[in-house]
């Protein structure tokens, strides 16, 4: 009697789990496994599928565009794991130490909300806004430079190979600061004020307190932000697509964009699948490394 009721209860449980498992398997896991399988073929998306072994992976290794795209991901990740992290750490401490204490919590909240605005605006709209500002003929930046007497430095910033990647990175830094800030503010609030006060009484200056108390205490938050940022940098597509389409001359192409081109423009589906498999493997490896590091911290 009891055991049959147990079975019935279990059955409801599995029924509840069913929609999620079906959706997730059908729309995420199976397609991803199909991509892995496709990467060993020579499919163009229309014709017959033939087995190609490791050919796609071999061509990737000798493909300059493949390396350039991943190199650009790397440059962007480098920019995003340094500048926004450093800037937001300083902002978070300034906001919690000065603004909250002296001007009150509402003022701090307004500041935090202001810094967070780039995170909430639809990326396409932000990217169009930036393209507008960097436009060679009516762009605000060139007009600003002219106003400052530096007009000769003005140019089509996103169309110039020397500056395009720097500007894409700068725009992403602008986008990313708010995210880091919100996580760090939560972290600063978690720090035991007693440690902080003790250091102040011992005569530690602002910079000293920042470097030897706040940064080490925020270890966990920093690792979260780093992992999220690296993942974001690896998967980046929308900003690049709207700002530059990978141009000029592939100067800002990234892995996701190159995969997209192979799928839908070059009709090299299997090759695109091979690159996306490499990307997936890279993401798994980085996630596992971070998990290991975190487990070691927690022990």
């Amino acid at each position: 009697m009891i055991s049959s009721r147990h079975v019935a209860r279990d059955r409801t449980m599995y029924l509840l789990l069913l929609p999620g498992l079906v959706l997730f398997s059908l729309f995420v896991v199976l397609p991803s496994l199909s991509s892995v399988a496709l990467s060993f073929t020579d499919w163009d998306g229309i014709g017959k599928i033939g087995f190609a072994g490791l050919q796609n992976y071999r061509s990737a290794l000798s493909d300059q565009l493949f390396w350039d795209s991943f190199k650009n991901n790397f440059v962007i990740i480098l920019a995003l794991t340094t500048v926004p992290v450093a800037v937001s750490l300083v902002l978070a401490v300034t906001l919690s130490e000065f603004v909250t204490n002296r001007l009150g919590k509402p003022v701090a909240t307004v500041f935090r909300a202001g810094f967070y605005v780039p995170q909430v605006i639809t990326p396409v709209a932000s990217a169009i806004a930036w393209r507008w500002i960097l436009n060679p003929s009516w762009g605000a930046l060139n007009h600003l430079l002219t106003g400052l007497g530096l007009g000769r430095f003005g140019r089509g910033w996103l169309g110039y190979p020397g500056s395009a990647l720097a500007w894409v990175s700068a725009i992403l830094i602008w986008f990313q600061i708010g995210y880091c800030l919100v996580i760090f503010i939560a972290g600063v609030q978690r720090i035991n004020p007693a440690i902080y006060d003790a250091a102040r009484i011992d005569g530690a200056g602002t910079v000293r307190r920042f470097l030897s108390i706040i940064v080490p205490q925020l270890n966990y938050e920093i690792s979260v932000v780093l992992l999220t940022t690296i993942m974001y940098g690896l998967k980046l597509f929308d900003y690049v697509y709207v700002l530059t389409r990978g141009g000029p001359d592939n100067a800002t192409s990234v892995a996701a964009y190159y995969i997209y081109l192979n799928y839908f423009t070059y009709f090299r589906v299997s090759y695109g699948a091979a690159i996306s498999t490499l990307l997936t493997v890279g993401i798994f490896i980085i996630s596992f490394i971070f998990m290991r590091i975190r487990m070691r911290y927690e022990q």
Partner: protein
């Protein structure tokens, strides 16, 4: 009123004025790009051509915004976005609640294995699923539908939702569950009458997340939607800005129109969002 109070406060911050000035400068730099595009959507083409992008608009004139709204048919696009985000939020929240309930409160065999399955899938990048899905959705006739976009986004989001809700429900007091079971509550009654009502803040946080994530999506709809009458707002803006690329004030107006719903959501949901980000970041 309180200019005296403010000045009294300012006196109390002798050395910190610099810090606040730095904050203000950074804030202005962060908000300036949005601000400059907004004010230029109130100018005519001629005004931008004559006075440049940095001047203040001579008058508050909505005619360019109105014509951008009509030329881009942003009204329809707004509805499309609302339909897609509404579907995603509904599907993902319900499925995440089910999964979280089973894995966090119910006792099933191999619960951790199932959780691990979702966790593992959370790492899969959209680039690696997009082509097989593109093919599959064409075969089953769902290509070029808003439903397809909503299903794909929901399926990707529900991995996070499952993880999030499982950890929320695991922290839910076991005594409530046991008391209800002793009273003879079935799982569905327990879930809908006790567990859901007592966890509304967490549910609301992921709802806001799902809604805003799907609202901001461009990639999925770019791949799966071809008819312009079905474009959501971001995709609509993308093609609008391509079509009117030579028109400074129209482009600015398009970007302004599409950025406004995001700002409204932010103002409404600020608190939930910030709480969710912090919790979500920690979960990941």
């Amino acid at each position: 009123m309180s200019s005296r109070r403010i000045s009294r406060r300012l006196k109390r911050i002798p050395g910190n004025v610099a810090a606040i000035i730095v904050l203000l400068v950074v804030l202005i730099v962060v908000l300036f790009p949005i601000f400059i595009v907004w004010i230029n959507s109130f100018k005519t083409e001629a005004e931008i051509a004559n006075f440049g992008p940095l001047s203040f608009p001579k008058s508050i004139d909505f005619s360019v915004l109105r014509s951008a709204w009509i030329k881009g048919s942003f009204g329809i696009k707004f509805w499309n976005s609302l339909i897609i985000s509404g579907l995603v939020t509904g599907i993902s929240v319900i499925v995440s609640i089910f999964n979280g309930y089973v894995l966090g409160i119910g006792r099933i065999r191999r619960a951790n294995l199932v959780l691990f399955y979702f966790l593992f899938g959370m790492m899969i990048p959209v680039e690696s699923i997009i082509y097989p899905l593109y093919y599959f959705l064409r075969v089953i006739g769902l290509y070029d539908t808003r439903l397809a976009v909503a299903l794909v986004i929901s399926s990707m989001d529900l991995a996070f939702g499952t993880y999030f809700m499982t950890s929320v429900f695991r922290a839910f007091p076991k005594s409530y569950v046991e008391a209800a079971k002793i009273d003879g509550c079935s799982n569905l009654v327990l879930l809908s009458r006790i567990v859901v009502p007592l966890n509304l803040p967490a549910l609301f946080a992921i709802m806001v997340f799902f809604f805003i994530w799907s609202w901001n999506d461009m990639f999925i709809s770019l791949i799966f939607i071809v008819s312009s009458v079905k474009y959501p707002m971001p995709l609509g803006l993308l093609f609008f800005s391509g079509e009117w690329v030579r028109y400074a004030s129209l482009t600015a107006a398009g970007a302004t129109i599409v950025s406004i719903p995001s700002i409204i959501y932010f103002v409404i949901f600020q608190r939930n969002l910030v709480k969710g980000i912090t919790a979500g970041g920690m979960v990941e």
